[in-house]
């Protein structure tokens, strides 16, 4: 009887031991299956790209996260394509559907003297010469990254207009050699881990055209902006008395204006070209200072001469903005009428430049023409015909 009880006790104890063993294995087995379960998770994490355009080069990735603690001296950033996941240690497909860090540079104050280690398609390793000492929010700036191309992200572009998601993972380590990390699926004993989702997209493209524009007019009176109003025929009469005539006692003058509105960002050059006053019998009143090109020159009553000047007072003699005068015509009292330089006021040339006009909606200048006759100037009706030529550079 006693022997029977002993055998029963041994049998019961064996069952207890077996139960305890199975229970222990049951509890331990799941822990063995879950690798890297001891790493903390970086919080408040994001990766911002400077552009999300597919295939863009020179892109900056700004990685922001808050580590769980200090003493981090290296980290690994892995990127996996849209068929993968952001879960640290899980399968990670790269192909060409991930950013390329081959030419990337890195900067951060997270660790001391941060430098990039191994870098390439879908991965960049970063290490410092000393461990981090702060557990506050950190920023790592990775420059000169190439975004995944649309061709590579076939899983996304198959859907018209769809953007493409890909994933980033960060693992931090306590030494400068990335702990025991060996691959995206074997990350070793990381201090912190974290996953990110990112998305590239196609850009929205909009085009528009602005036409070249140049409005130019000559007027007896000051024209309005764009020469829309205030334009009068520029018929000038030089002389005094009644009937109006030139003589040797005075220098007689009259004025006209040019107006200009343009979007030519290479400016508009305004030139003048024409004749000196000429009578039907081909007598002339000569250009001031024999048509010299180094003016301005004075016109003295009684010495036959003809010339042009534009005054010097901004807002009175020319518009306050947009107009720059040529020096030989920019005088309050003296004149020029160049008949000698290559681009002179006469002949077959383009005419002599009197001003340039920057892009402006309302540029103008007042042109002062003046003449005097000598005692020997033949009588007659003298006429001069001048052309103003505006040339825009766009």
């Amino acid at each position: 009887m006693k022997l029977k009880h002993k055998i029963k006790d041994i049998s019961s104890r064996a069952k207890y031991l077996a139960s305890a063993g199975i229970l222990s294995i049951g509890l331990v087995a799941p822990l063995a299956l879950s690798s890297s379960a001891n790493a903390a998770t970086v919080s408040s994490r994001s990766i911002q790209m400077s552009t999300a355009a597919q295939g863009a080069t020179g892109v900056t990735y700004t990685v922001t996260f808050t580590p769980s603690g200090t003493s981090v001296q290296s980290l690994v950033l892995d990127f996996c394509d849209s068929t993968s996941s952001p879960i640290p240690g899980a399968a990670c497909a790269t192909g060409a559907g991930v950013p390329d860090f081959t030419s990337a540079t890195v900067s951060s104050t997270f660790m001391t003297s941060v430098t990039a280690g191994t870098k390439g398609l879908g991965q960049i390793k970063i290490a410092g010469t000393a461990a981090s000492t702060s557990s506050t929010a950190q920023t790592i700036t990775i420059s000169n990254v190439t975004n995944p191309t649309s061709a590579a992200q076939t899983t996304c572009t198959a859907t018209n207009g769809s953007g493409c998601t890909f994933y980033g993972r960060v693992y931090t380590y306590g030494n400068a050699t990335y702990g025991t990390y060996s691959s995206a699926t074997s990350i070793g004993s990381a201090v912190d881990t974290g996953g990110f989702a990112l998305a590239t997209s196609q850009s929205i493209t909009i085009t528009a055209t602005v036409k070249e524009s140049l409005t130019f007019c000559a007027s007896k009176t000051q024209p309005s902006a764009g020469c829309t109003t205030g334009v009068a025929a520029p018929a000038l009469t030089l002389g005094h008395g009644s009937p109006t005539a030139l003589d040797s006692t005075a220098v007689d003058a009259d004025t006209a204006y040019f107006g200009c509105s343009t979007n030519a960002n290479g400016n508009v050059v305004v030139r003048i070209k024409g004749t000196v006053p000429t009578s039907p019998s081909s007598n002339t009143i000569p250009a001031v200072s024999a048509g010299g090109s180094a003016g301005p020159y004075s016109i003295t009553a009684g010495t036959a001469a003809f010339g042009l000047r534009i005054g010097t007072v901004s807002g009175t003699d020319y518009s306050a903005s947009g107009v720059t005068l040529t020096a030989k015509y920019n005088s309050a009292t003296q004149y020029s009428w160049d008949t000698t330089s290559a681009t002179n006021n006469t002949g077959l040339g383009a005419g002599d430049q009197i001003a340039t006009v920057a892009p402006s909606s309302d540029a103008w200048a007042k042109l002062n023409f003046a003449a005097t006759a000598a005692l020997t100037t033949p009588a007659g009706i003298y006429t001069a015909s001048e052309s103003l030529i505006a040339t825009g550079t766009f």
């Binding site: 139960s19 994001s46 990766i47 999300a52 207009g161 990110f196 493209t205 055209t209």
Partner: protein, 256 residues
């Protein structure tokens, strides 16, 4: 008394047996996703589908999302937490930005009228603390006489002014300079999606554009929000001539 002890021993035995086989399954069920390629469309399928799981069934060109045993679809949240159910949610952190593959030409600009157009983009993000969408591009530009000119952009919300060089956008419905644009649309409804136009870009008839500005955002995970961007162009008489090009790059950033 002896019978109860025997029953207790049996119960312990059965529990141990059950625990041994069931606990590993609970853990491995979280990571057993495999990747397959379905013709021209790649999709993710699960090797096994448990209640609440997702499966994508694919033919050559189409994939079908299906779910098993979902008890509810949609969002539930408290002050600090947010949860999603239903087949359109994902198990991993996720962000998607969908933009149209389109090129729009607004034609020849005039100093006597405003040109405008619209474009749409959509964003969704899961398991995130939210997302932002940022202007990634400089203003429209053209090269004229070898000089690159960028259209002037208001840095504060400004009404459209004809004859004044101006490029701006907003993300809401407008009545000026014309009836154009629309407010953000939550898909399938505001119960699931929460994206909004950001401050500065959320006032009707006022436009601005600053590179680097956040133009849309959500303070939490969100289903699809479709945004309509209204673009306006005004030029002055001095706006340099040329073919202006604007490649609007949008940057969606998820916060986790």
């Amino acid at each position: 008394m002896g019978i109860n002890i025997i029953r207790l021993k049996r119960i312990i035995w059965y529990l141990s047996f059950l625990l041994f086989f069931s606990v590993p399954m609970l853990f491995t069920g979280l990571v057993k996703a495999t990747t397959t390629s379905c013709g021209s469309i790649n999709c993710v399928t699960e090797s096994s589908v448990s209640p609440g799981g997702v499966v994508n069934a694919c033919s050559t060109n189409y994939c079908l999302n299906a779910s098993l045993g979902d008890t509810g679809i949609g969002n539930s949240s408290s002050a600090n937490y947010q949860a999603y159910g239903g087949y359109t949610t994902t198990a991993d952190p996720y962000i998607e930005l969908v933009t149209p593959n389109s090129v729009t030409n607004v034609g020849v600009l005039s100093s006597s009228s405003t040109a405008s157009t619209t474009a749409q983009f959509s964003v969704r993000a899961y398991l995130a603390s939210g997302y932002t969408v940022t202007n990634g591009s400089p203003a429209p530009s053209a090269v004229s006489n070898g000089i690159t000119h960028y259209l002037t952009t208001p840095s504060t919300p400004t009404a459209s002014i004809i004859g004044t060089e101006q490029f701006g956008i907003n993300l809401v419905a407008n009545t000026s300079p014309s009836t154009i644009g629309s407010n953000p649309q939550q898909l399938p409804s505001s119960t699931y999606s929460y994206g909004t136009a950001a401050t500065g870009y959320n006032t009707s008839n006022l436009y601005k554009y600053v590179q680097g500005d956040i133009i849309a955002q959500s303070a939490s995970s969100s289903g699809y929000t479709t945004y309509t961007v209204t673009y306006i162009f005004n030029i002055s008489n001095t706006t340099p001539s040329g073919f202006y090009n604007f490649s609007h790059t949008l940057i969606a950033t998820g916060y986790y």
